[in-house]
């Protein structure tokens, strides 16, 4: 069965509201920031017994950063820093960033903030989002602290959208509570790629990423990997993905375009 590729259809085909929503629900893919602009407020849920939360957040942030057209930065070399906020509890559970293990372009840029309480961490995140000299802000907050409610999350979204600084908030061992984040991911480890020379050794990291809530995309599940300095995503489960595609295609075909 051949399905019409959504992007190839002429715009006139999308007069139906359902079809419009289907178009808006274009699937997420790496490098999307180049077309759609930055995803400004992201949450990444991860477990405390692995380091994938921060790693995937950095990978997503760097993907957005690289795929943005350079001219709006204005300089040949972007020298902006990155603010990394952690609560004391998050440091206890998953440790501090280690400079030698960070992606190379971030090693000299990270500014670390250690907050005793979640309130302080939220304050630091908001101050960071208001700062024009930051490339992006990474936060790590453990559990579901009381100050991080829908109001606080909305404040972060507004600050981020006003000043255009993306936020990647890693939620360690947290339940999926209310939030106004634009994209919410659940990340777990996936077996790594096998390296060229030593099949016994762990290779380039891969993550199983589930996008379970997003404002402008359909939810989905991917296996993300960093290869040659760029983020790649492969389908995690083909059958689930096809069901999703059938669903959007069905929306398009249910009402045939009037002026076809």
């Amino acid at each position: 069965m051949s399905r019409p590729e959504l992007a190839s259809l002429p715009f006139m085909a999308f007069e139906d509201v359902a079809a419009l929503s289907a178009r808006r629900n274009a699937r997420w893919r790496p490098g999307l920031a180049a077309n759609q602009g930055l995803a400004l407020h992201n949450e990444v849920f991860a477990s405390s017994c692995e380091g994938v939360g921060a790693a995937a957040a950095l990978a997503l942030a760097l993907d957005d950063w690289r795929s943005l057209p350079r001219e709006d930065v204005g300089e040949a070399q972007d020298r902006r820093s990155v603010l990394w906020v952690q609560t004391r509890e998050a440091v206890r559970r998953v440790g501090r960033p280690y400079r030698a293990g960070l992606p190379e372009e971030l090693q000299a840029r990270v500014i670390h903030v250690l907050a005793e309480k979640a309130e302080d961490a939220l304050f630091a995140l908001e101050e960071g989002l208001r700062c024009r000299d930051l490339a992006f802000v990474v936060g790590e907050i453990a559990g579901n602290p009381k100050p991080l409610d829908l109001t606080a999350s909305r404040r972060l979204t507004l600050a981020s959208e006003k000043h255009g600084v993306p936020l990647f908030l890693v939620r360690i061992d947290a339940a999926r509570d209310l939030s106004s984040a634009r994209m919410r991911w659940e990340i777990t480890s996936a077996p790594s790629l096998s390296p060229h020379w030593n099949a016994q050794a762990p290779g380039a990291p891969r993550w199983r990423a589930e996008l379970f809530r997003a404002r402008s995309h359909a939810p989905g599940e991917w296996v993300l990997a960093e290869e040659q300095g760029s983020l790649t995503a492969s389908k995690a489960r083909r059958e689930a993905d096809e069901a999703m595609a059938d669903w959007t295609a069905g929306l398009c075909l249910r009402h045939p375009p009037r002026r076809a």
């Binding site: 017994c49 692995e50 380091g51 994938v52 921060a54 790693a55 950095l58 820093s81 603010l83 440091v91 206890r92 998953v94 440790g95 501090r96 960033p97 280690y98 400079r99 030698a100 293990g101 960070l102 000299a108 990270v110 500014i111 670390h112 903030v113 250690l114 907050a115 005793e116 302080d120 304050f123 630091a124 101050e127 960071g128 208001r130 700062c131 024009r132 000299d133 930051l134 000043h163 600084v165 777990t188 480890s189 996936a190 077996p191 790594s192 030593n198 016994q200 050794a201 762990p202 990291p205 891969r206 199983r208």
Partner: protein, 494 residues
């Protein structure tokens, strides 16, 4: 200096301290002095002169604490003060008197402020600390000497004790017939030099003291380089007790300070706000900035977070803001606060706000450090300082993304014959190792550690579900540095 309370001054009163020979008089009030009691006299001798003398124990430690508080309080007349135990305070009023309307008004203000605290004092202003000391102790009341040339003339009539000499030296000078300071110059410098040639300490050699007093020889009390610290102050007509008013005054001070700094082409790195309370306490708030600034709105915003816990007591009567650390700053700088609303804050302003709320240690940047031990190879420094020079790291050593603050011990359930674990337990969860790379052996740094330190064998591992860790074994079997080696998990890989 003594209490001038009516009740205490009505009858003769002495403060006594215990010595091996019985109680000795440490201090005397006016009525006591009139009755014949003197400092240093035995109490029994004083009692024979005046049987109705009242006594109280002296408290030297308490006096010293009081004097310390007083010296800090006295900084309202100058940015720098020093103790002159047991009963004096030296204040550096260089470039300050114009704030009070001249030296005369400054001294009047000093007398008035001490009178309010019911303390009687003698004060003097002179170009050198020694001259001011001599005038305050032996000169006319509220004496002012301007210019180095006038010192010698003004001090000629004072007794030689005004040179701050030891008792025995004063006695020697008196026996030589030298009673006034002016007389020392009459017999020639060489003669005195010969008499005191082997006295090196200033307190035992009248010539050194004389030179210090006249400003020919520097005295360590004086600031070596006269420097103009940007300083603004507000003396309030009515003490303020409410926060809104305090904010208003701080905003005024910040605006004054901005003008002052602009005139010097500087920006403040450290600011000190001192608040003098009516009851004599001085509250100090310090602020350190990541980059030089003189934007009043930014300064006010940073201080606002620091003023919450101030106890105004009966009110604050004077405020002073000084930039104890200033750096050159080019003249144009836009307004941080309004720019922040439209275009976001600059990095320095952002870091200032973070450090004011979270503390200076909370904001830092990781920098490499020359060490092989992983946790030692990274240090934290203030975020805007330049990075220290370092060697490039070796590219083939894969390092984890996160490092735990303290390596956590893991229980190895089953180890392969090669030596690395096949199954281990960490945080109550069993992990099955699927892939492994290692060992990377890191020997202890003998130039830093004590003798028994064990080497570490690092392994990068991945478990059955794809979770990647960095673990190490501390020591090897049979290295003679302890029992069976332990395993630790130190890092979480990406």
């Amino acid at each position: 200096m003594g209490e001038s309370g009516a009740a205490l001054d009505s009858g003769p009163l002495v403060l006594i301290g215990d010595t091996a020979h019985g109680p000795r008089i440490e201090a005397v009030n006016r009525a006591g002095a009139a009755a014949g009691a003197r400092r240093g006299m035995m109490l029994a001798d004083a009692r024979t002169l005046c049987p109705e003398i009242a006594t109280a124990p002296s408290d030297p430690a308490g006096d010293l604490t009081f004097l310390e508080d007083l010296a800090i309080w006295a900084q309202r007349w100058g940015p720098w003060s020093a103790l002159d135990a047991p009963d004096g305070v030296l204040v550096d009023v260089t470039s300050v008197p114009h704030l009070f309307g001249g030296e005369k008004h400054l001294l009047a203000d000093v007398h008035e402020a001490f009178a309010k605290r019911r303390l009687s004092i003698r004060a003097a202003i002179a170009p050198t600390a020694g001259a001011a000391w001599a005038l305050a102790h032996y000169g006319p009341d509220a004496a002012i000497v301007e210019g180095h040339d006038a010192i010698e003339r003004a001090l000629a009539d004072l007794p030689v004790a005004a040179l701050r000499l030891d008792e025995d030296v004063v006695t020697v000078l008196r026996r030589l017939g030298l009673k006034r300071m002016g007389e020392i110059a009459t017999i020639g410098r060489d003669a005195i030099q010969r008499r005191f040639r082997n006295r090196k300490s200033p307190a035992a050699n009248p010539l050194i003291r004389l030179d210090q007093l006249l400003g020919r020889v520097p005295e360590p009390l004086l600031p070596v380089v006269p420097q103009q610290i940007p300083l603004v102050q507000r003396r309030l007509l009515e003490p303020i007790r409410y926060r809104a008013l305090l904010d208003r005054v701080v905003a005024d001070l910040a605006a004054d300070m901005a003008r002052e700094l602009e005139g010097q082409g500087k920006g403040a790195r450290r600011l000190e706000l001192q608040l003098w309370r009516v009851d004599g306490k001085v509250v100090v708030r310090r602020l350190e900035m990541a980059a030089a600034t003189r934007d009043p709105a930014h300064i006010v915003r940073l201080f606002a977070a620091r003023l919450d816990d101030i106890d105004a007591g009966f009110g604050i009567e004077m405020l002073r803001l000084r930039a104890s650390w200033a750096e050159p700053l080019a003249l144009e700088q836009s307004d941080i606060e309004t720019a922040a609303e439209t275009r976001g804050t600059s990095l320095a302003a952002c870091i200032d706000r973070l450090t004011v709320r979270l503390g200076a240690k909370a904001v830092s940047r990781p920098v490499p450090f020359a060490s092989y031990i992983p946790e030692r190879a990274q240090r934290w420094q203030p975020p805007l300082e330049p990075e220290p020079a370092s060697q490039g790291q070796l590219a083939f050593h894969a390092r984890p993304l996160k490092l735990l603050d303290n390596p956590e011990k893991i229980a190895v359930l089953y180890a392969t014959p090669d030596g690395h674990p096949q199954r281990f337990r960490w945080r109550g969860q069993v992990h099955e190792v699927a892939r492994v790379e290692g060992p990377e052996r890191i020997a202890p740094e003998w130039w830093r550690e004590r003798r028994g330190a064990r080497l570490r064998d690092y392994y990068r591992i991945e478990d059955g579900e794809g979770r990647r860790y960095w673990i190490y074994r501390q020591g090897i079997v049979g290295d003679g540095r302890g029992g069976a080696p332990d395993w630790y998990l130190q890092g979480l890989c990406a």
